[in-house]
Subunit: 317 residues, 2 copies
Amino acid sequence: MSQSDPLFERVALIGIGLIGSSLAHATRRGNLAGEIVVSTRSADTLKRAEELGLGDRYEADAAKAVEGADLVILSIPVGAYGKVAEAIGPYLAKGAILSDVGSTKGTVVRDVEPHVPASVHFIPGHPIAGTEHSGPDAGFASLFEGRWAILTPPADADPAAVDKLTRFWTACGSKVDTMDPDHHDRVLAIVSHLPHIIAYNIVGTADDLEAVSKSEVIKYSASGFRDFTRLAASDPTMWRDVCLSNRDAILEMLGRFSEDLASLQRAIRWGDGDKLFDLFTRTRAVRRSIIEAGQEVDAPDFGRHPEIQPKKEQAAD
Amino acid sequence: MSQSDPLFERVALIGIGLIGSSLAHATRRGNLAGEIVVSTRSADTLKRAEELGLGDRYEADAAKAVEGADLVILSIPVGAYGKVAEAIGPYLAKGAILSDVGSTKGTVVRDVEPHVPASVHFIPGHPIAGTEHSGPDAGFASLFEGRWAILTPPADADPAAVDKLTRFWTACGSKVDTMDPDHHDRVLAIVSHLPHIIAYNIVGTADDLEAVSKSEVIKYSASGFRDFTRLAASDPTMWRDVCLSNRDAILEMLGRFSEDLASLQRAIRWGDGDKLFDLFTRTRAVRRSIIEAGQEVDAPDFGRHPEIQPKKEQAAD
């Protein structure tokens, strides 16, 4: 294989929403596939993917899409994995890598593995990247740049296959970590699932008030509330499935969150200013670490004020 | 007074943090004051304000700063209002307008009003704008553009004074609403105070976990968590005082939030997918309304990906 040959001969993308279409763009940009086959069960979405030129071939039938592909990536809601795995299992090519981008990994292994032939390398994955937008129009090639992709290869995974999938994600701009599925699900429960659930919840609470009108909530949202509406605008199907698939870890994190909130509420009720000040000081350092790790923009207000970029030196507080 | 005369002869800015310094910039830009007097009790901050050229005169003593000013604006943590009002009260000029930018209004009226001479127009205010940064370096002239400023004039306020203060905020780029202090405090409890408290709380919860390392929380924060760290990086003194000053409204909103969260938690535990899907769909519309109202950037991920601006047409979901 010469230096310029693509990493894979044929990549089949099953599901072409935000992540699937971003993978299509990144695969194209990096010349990572000889052929990109796009498949989705919605005829409208498949047609839109074709209009956008996301693939080289378009198949409504996932089983047909995976034939002869040496890399197959599922980018569909995790609740649909079992059915799709059952449908494509018999058609997967020998030696192919089957991976995915799902936000939970325990149920993915449970639902997919039984349908994977022994000759296929099943290596679940999860890129830690996204926006609140959905659908084939939402994708873009740079989505994964500088973000982490987590792989959860089984203990007996073929190192060469893991390495090849790692090279794929690296070529998409990601840094790659591996861990076991259970640990993945606990980590994601706190860094992703709980934040989304809390955001959905607070937007729901605000939407239900009688004493404050919907119009007031919207007008004055720049005082904090609007930040939460971004996560709460994420794809409802995807997030329903995440909640159902990672129940135990989510319930554990919700328990801890509520316990801490009750304690904070008590400090507010009894006027314990020192306790409030200590917490509010400690949390400030966490953001600084995230910016230093290159996982957040170093600009006030998420860079919502481009007129003040690049940001001025800040005085110490 | 000719067209080009400043709106006020002398504006005294008491406190020169994010909001105070932004007011200094906006006042200068709009030629809204013949003279800007800056005062803050911290010698270092006053020196820094002078280095930045935020005012025309600098006074460590607030009482000296307000002498002869026809507009005085307090931009200090609300917990410090009583003491400062007591100190400046006797030195306020006849006919002057005394206003503020505090995030709560009930306690502000309670703590300030007793110290205000009858000849002074006390008209509390609150601009719904900010970033997570603090201090005199953090301010910028366009902070208030397109945002709302809420005034809570007393029932017997002089309409001419309210009108003049309204013109000041309008010249800073704001749209102006008036309401009574109690209603302000309930509205802000849901759109601002609750979001900050929830953000502080979740960042604290994540920081305390044993099963997930701090390094993992930081590395994978782009999956949602990092959004919360922005509000949780806000000024600790300011937010301690907000919690202590708006206790009753905050406790009411926290009660509703926790009630809704318990119900959501139950839906997750019992696998009620329809309930989850309904909530997650309803909240999506709220963000759309905020963008349509011009109170949020119309770009995915808060515009963190400038390479995809202006955003492409999104497919319907």
